[in-house]
Symmetry: C2
Subunit: 260 residues, 2 copies
């Protein structure tokens, strides 16, 4: 981890190829976002999918076709300012690249979706445990038995992140994260993993398992990976997203996206 830097400086380093690693922990307090880029012909359907599933897919910004400069970061360029991108063709991951300019056209629409980094900072500030950060691991993610409201051709199961804590801490976590309604907001479940169809907390579908101490219960939040499953399941000719952990860093502070 390097010393903290401003979002504009971080994006400049990414653009010049100097910064190539995940953005977790960088420019603390500034809103980071998931990126999805897809063709204009399916932009309505994808925006509809997000609108119908605001907990996993909170929309922070949508750009006009062919536009690359988001309102939440003037001067930024979404085709160059993320450290790493993934390209999916017909639903299959085919490439990881550091620059999507060769693939971006006047027809491409970019979506920026909220990310749990915002509320993790708030939980730390409130003295709550964030085990994945404490253990320097990727957060545990699970595919649940709950299905999102579809918007054809987009459909997906709900994916959740899990952070263990005591029941008393879970109550406080509900309060703290409720404010962050545009970055996943309050948990969607607390307690029994089986209720979500999760058989073994030690075997997450994505990310790493974390330690669960005696007296702790799992607390589950909706996860932005849901949107990745939706766009890959739709098997489009080409979809571009950020690579996991390599987010877009905006000029907005996390606080700008709170409900109160």
């Amino acid at each position: 981890m390097t010393a903290d830097i401003a979002p504009t400086e971080l994006r400049a380093q990414i653009r010049s190829g100097k910064w190539t690693t995940p953005t977790s922990g960088a420019a603390t307090g500034f809103l980071q976002a998931n990126l999805v880029m897809l063709p204009r012909s399916l932009a309505f359907e994808f925006l509809l999918f997000c609108t119908r599933n605001p907990k996993p897919c909170p929309v922070l910004d949508v750009l006009a076709p062919g536009q690359t400069e988001p309102a939440i970061a003037p001067g930024a360029d979404l085709t160059t300012d993320l450290p790493r991108y993934r390209l999916y063709r017909s639903g299959q991951l085919t490439d990881e690249v550091t620059d999507v300019r060769p693939f971006f056209t006047d027809d491409t629409v970019s979506f920026l979706l909220g990310c749990s980094f915002s509320f993790e900072n708030a939980m730390l500030a409130a003295g709550l445990p964030v085990r994945n950060i404490a253990e320097d691991k990727n957060v545990s993610m699970y595919i649940t038995n709950r299905t999102c409201r579809p918007a054809e051709p987009f459909e997906a199961p709900l994916v959740v992140t899990m952070r263990p804590m005591t029941p008393e801490q879970a109550i406080r976590a509900v309060q703290v994260t409720t404010r962050y309604h545009q970055t996943h907001g309050a948990p969607i479940h607390v307690g029994d993993p089986a209720e979500l169809g999760i058989r073994d907390l030690n075997k997450p579908d994505f990310g790493d398992p974390v330690t669960i101490h005696p007296g702790e219960i799992p607390v589950f939040w909706a996860c932005g990976v849901t949107s990745s499953l939706a766009v890959t399941a739709a098997k489009l000719d080409l979809v571009m997203t950020h690579a996991p952990g390599h987010m877009f860093v905006s000029d907005l502070r996390d606080e700008h996206m709170t409900i109160m």
Copy 2:
């Protein structure tokens, strides 16, 4: 005002032509919604306009092209279950009708947007004054000097409603309405009307003026009429909306749409 009835019964009476008047005060506690119907070709742009302006245009539901049964009211039909509709052609109001089936096609997309009736009920329950209800008037609405974020071809000034109260009541009103983030949420301004470009509170652009008592200040909320200005300004061949006050009554309770 008739005795209160259930949403399903109210919609049945509307559909049969028995109920033809505004829905204000009917089926208290159930979510009512603004309706906008427009062609598939501009559905993305309009959903984008709403996404970019969530305070005046909170999206409750969007239906697939040609669909008339919303998820928030199973069994309902949006083409028949509102007491009165308005038709705009090239931006001009041309008709008011009680049934839009003759104009609805497989290409028509329906949007349901949140309405301030939800938080007015909550304010009354909290003992706060809602002057327009107390004086049995339409709420005062004003076109402000603030512009919405456009999504071509949709653009509009922000329209606000105003309810007068004491400063102490205004503080409580902020708390009470914050919960209702999908039905306009917290106020956008309190105090000086000139800050919003409003020259005379006694001359609203829409609705009726209400009494402002000594010691009271105006409190302003974003208003769904903003979406009407946006769709008429776009001068589409045909747009259908509810007629003012003649809303769609859903099966969801107002409480379902609160943030906490």
